[in-house]
């Protein structure tokens, strides 16, 4: 079995996750030391200063998801230069680029759709159409890096990022590549928020985002973000974590089936519940969907430190990518930020294995396992 390591991170999110200027590794500085609470029911990403990553003439044409995607990918590769202990300014070109996105480039999609309808199919311009393609982020990263390697995009609802991870893991195991740039991106637009509000997905009134679990009303807070990872089949002194595995499945028939999938997953990695140092759960503040997470935290994992993250980034299809960033940072820094603990506990030592469990609207379930390198 090939061992896979996380050797670079880039995370554009509603929190300060892009590191301090010039710091190395980029992403280990200020690990959620000053989390931001917003009064809202939709979280938007903090602009990381796109001109540091993308030529100015290109920024203008790019919709937000493309900017966020390209910036987080480039940040990740800069971080990798540091982790690989290479000379500053070295440009790493990955052998493969694999991305996931639940909805793809919806801003451009809406733009073209609206102009087609308003102009009754006449006088249309192509820019928003050509950028509406789901693989635009992966394609633009390849273009900017002049990367001719493997380039894939997965678009399967709440497991889009995990599907990309499975592909990355498969390719590294097959020995097709020695490194892969893998990430997940989704953007929130005014229209998509308005439409999904009508599904009853979101809190009806703004709340303090960091108090997400204290609000007992139906719904959660919408979010967005883009997180990339540089995976390699080589360990370095500064590697963040070992990427041990990922698994996805559709709606289990019962809680019993879910538990059996969970135990099978742990067993396939030679682990028991007691080996998990931190369980990161997809809790999103909707009492109905949180039920299963609380049940796991209060029974099987009652002695395990449990964490959560959607109060930091909101709910979106590829939010498990944010969770993987959090898990990798915990292992690298050997610290669990208090803001991410479901129940506050004193800081422990020796965070060996971090398990992430998320389910998207009860339908798409996934486990991601990270371990100390």
């Amino acid at each position: 079995m090939t061992n896979i390591y996380i050797n670079g991170l880039g995370n554009v999110s509603p929190q300060k996750t892009t590191g301090n200027d010039g710091a190395c590794p980029v992403a280990t500085t200020g690990f959620l030391t000053n989390p931001i609470s917003y009064e809202t029911n939709q979280l938007k990403c903090i602009d990381p200063g796109y001109k540091d990553f993308i030529p100015a003439e290109m920024i203008r044409r790019m919709s937000r998801i493309i900017r966020m995607g390209v910036a987080s990918a480039k940040l990740c590769l800069r971080d990798a230069v540091c982790i690989l202990n290479q000379d500053e300014g070295t440009e790493i070109t990955p052998q493969a680029i694999i991305t996931g996105s639940g909805l793809g480039c919806i801003e451009d999609t809406e733009k073209f759709l609206a102009s087609m309808i308003r102009n009754r199919e006449e006088f249309l311009t192509p820019t928003s159409f050509i950028q509406s393609t789901h693989n635009t982020v992966a394609g633009q990263i390849a273009l900017l890096l002049n990367c001719h390697g493997y380039n894939f995009t997965y678009v399967h609802r709440g497991i889009s990022f995990e599907s990309a991870l499975i592909d990355a893991m498969t390719q590294l195991q097959l020995g097709e590549f020695s490194n892969v740039l893998v990430g997940g991106s989704d953007e929130l637009t005014a229209n998509s928020f308005a439409i999904t509000s009508r599904f009853g997905l979101w809190k009806q009134k703004p709340i303090q985002s960091l108090d997400l679990l204290k609000d007992n009303n139906r719904g959660t807070i919408a979010g967005e973000g883009s997180s990339f990872f540089f995976l390699e089949n080589q360990k370095h002194a500064q590697s963040y974590a070992r990427f041990s595995g990922v698994s996805t499945f559709l709606k289990p028939a019962s809680d019993v089936e879910l538990r059996s999938k969970l135990y099978d997953f742990l067993e396939s990695h030679g682990l028991k519940v007691g080996d998990i140092s931190l369980l990161i759960l997809g809790l999103n503040g909707d009492p109905q969907s949180d039920h299963i997470y609380h049940q796991l935290a209060d029974s099987d994992f009652k002695d395990t430190l449990c964490g959560y993250y959607k109060h930091l980034c909101g709910e979106y299809h590829t939010s498990p990518a944010f969770a993987m960033w959090l898990g990798a940072m915990v292992i690298k820094n050997q610290v669990v930020p208090e803001v991410t603990m479901v129940k506050i506990r004193p800081q422990a030592t020796g965070y060996e294995h971090v398990l992430i469990y998320n389910n998207f609207r009860g339908n798409n379930h996934s486990f991601i396992l990270l371990s100390r390198p």
Binding site: F129, T153, I195
Partner: protein
């Protein structure tokens, strides 16, 4: 790990047929599915042609056996139809016997309903039927197909523009090779929509007279719709179940052109890399490829770029090639799987389906596509690009297939393909020196087919599909 990945079932629905048999009949008769737009209202009707599936949503829905279901998109309906046929063709009834997955590809997802929703929503954001928008995302059609087939072990969706469904075949093959799955249904589905029609129209790459792939006077592509799926199984399952094999997925490659978001590079770098990777993985040399089902959209840019890459890779030994988009139109996310199914029909029936609407060779290229039905009952010679002794009498290929002894006795030289390494994968029947099959009259000279699919975002993919000895 399974070294080999076998195709044991195929299913298709496209403008020239609602299933594999109808599609084959249309291909044999050189019947195009391109015609006037009928499925939706548009100012382009009567101006720009399209290749529509000739069934309404209602008829498709009835055929699924769940006529009561109201919220299925056309993309889902097409996918359900083709995937079900593939599963049936593979003779699979028990989905729990082996670990089974589904990887579907789409570019438009539920856009056919989203554009109806948006029309009302734009006027008043409180309006628009939610049932028209809930199925917008690409994963929706995949989960509908999964539930229609009864697959739940592993389900995902790929969207890389026009190369999407070849990429689904690759991803599925890799999951079998690593033992994560024993069987996987792979393919793609896309319906025509006003969104894509108008989108491609802004790029001014829609031919008002229907596409003319690889013709000097080509003026763009013709949009089509459809779905196609393949059942892939590991060598263990095939051996254990004694399953008939339609073909082997012997090689594949994906590369990025990294040139422009929509245009291909003049030298076709991405195309060259994808084809080279695919041929290398199959353990073959370029000269071993018997036929190329080219991407051949009919746009100025694609055909020149692809043709240039082909000439670079194959040099003076470019195999016969044709684009089948003159029949099916460009089915976007489904195109790779549609053309994989057509390539399997080419292998099964030993016939190259000619490139329609071709008259003038491109001045930049030395090569030109096959334009006459090539039934292939003679050995392949590299210089002989599709002008075999066809003729009306030579149509015995129609009723061949696994039962046809003519295709079984491929001669003692051909044994060992199943159980030998990549070095011994069919250098038998290509090349002018290889005259051993001359006197058999039934030699399967079409042994290894390369199929190309290239998409926006510089996404270039190629696969090699091969005949195996048990065929």
């Amino acid at each position: 790990m399974s070294k080999r990945v076998y195709i044991t079932g195929i299913g298709i629905i496209c403008a020239i047929g609602n299933n594999v048999e109808e599609t084959l009949q249309s291909l044999m008769a050189e019947r195009s599915g391109i015609g006037e737009i009928t499925l939706f209202d548009t100012i382009h009707r009567g101006v720009i042609p399209m290749a529509e599936v000739k069934l309404s949503n209602k008829a498709l829905l009835e055929a699924t056996g769940h006529p009561g279901q109201k919220n299925l998109t056309r993309t889902a309906l097409l996918g359900m139809t083709a995937a079900k046929e593939a599963l049936k063709n593979a003779g699979i009834t028990d989905l729990h016997q082996y670990k089974t997955g589904l990887i579907s590809a789409t570019t438009v997802g539920g856009m056919d309903r989203s554009e109806v929703f948006f029309e009302t929503f734009l006027a008043d954001p409180r309006q628009g039927k939610m049932i028209d928008i809930v199925n917008h995302d690409c994963g929706d059609s995949t989960e509908r197909i999964a539930s229609h087939l009864g697959i739940s072990d592993f389900v995902t969706t790929i969207s890389t523009a026009c190369s999407s469904s070849v990429n689904a075949i690759m991803a599925g093959s890799n999951l079998i090779k690593t033992g994560q799955l024993d069987r996987v249904v792979v393919g793609g589905t896309d319906s025509v929509t006003r969104f894509t029609l108008n989108g491609f129209n802004t790029l001014m790459i829609l031919d008002k007279t229907g596409c003319h792939p690889f013709d000097e006077n080509r003026a763009g592509l013709t949009l089509g719709e459809g779905a196609a799926f393949l059942v892939l199984e590991s060598e263990d399952v095939v051996a254990k179940e004694h399953k008939p094999v339609l073909a082997e997925v012997s090689g594949y490659g994906n590369a990025n052109d990294a040139f422009h978001q929509t245009a291909s590079s003049p030298d076709g770098k991405g195309a060259f890399l994808a084809m080279s990777k695919a041929v290398a993985m199959s353990g073959l040399q370029p000269r071993d490829i018997s036929y190329i089902n080219v991407h051949g959209t009919g746009t100025q840019n694609n055909d020149l770029s692809e043709g240039t890459a082909i000439e670079r890779l194959f040099g003076d030994h470019v195999p016969p090639f044709s684009s089948t988009k003159g029949y099916t139109g460009h089915t976007l996310g489904a195109a790779g799987a549609v053309e994989a199914v057509i390539s399997i029909l080419t292998l099964r029936h030993q016939v190259i389906f000619p490139n329609l609407n071709f008259s003038t060779p491109m001045k930049e290229l030395r090569i030109k596509p096959v334009t006459i039905v090539d039934t292939g009952h003679a050995p392949y010679r590299p210089d002989d690009t599709g002008h075999m002794d066809t003729g009306p009498d030579d149509t015995g290929h129609m009723d061949t297939g696994p039962d046809d002894p003519g295709h079984m006795d491929t001669g003692p030289d051909d044994t060992g393909h199943m159980d030998t390494g990549p070095d011994n994968t069919g250098h038998m029947d290509t090349g002018p020196d290889d005259t051993g099959h001359m006197d058999t009259g039934h030699a399967p000279y079409l042994r290894h087919i390369l199929s190309n699919s290239f998409g926006f975002g510089g996404n270039n993919s190629s696969i090699v599909l091969s005949k195996t000895i048990d065929q």
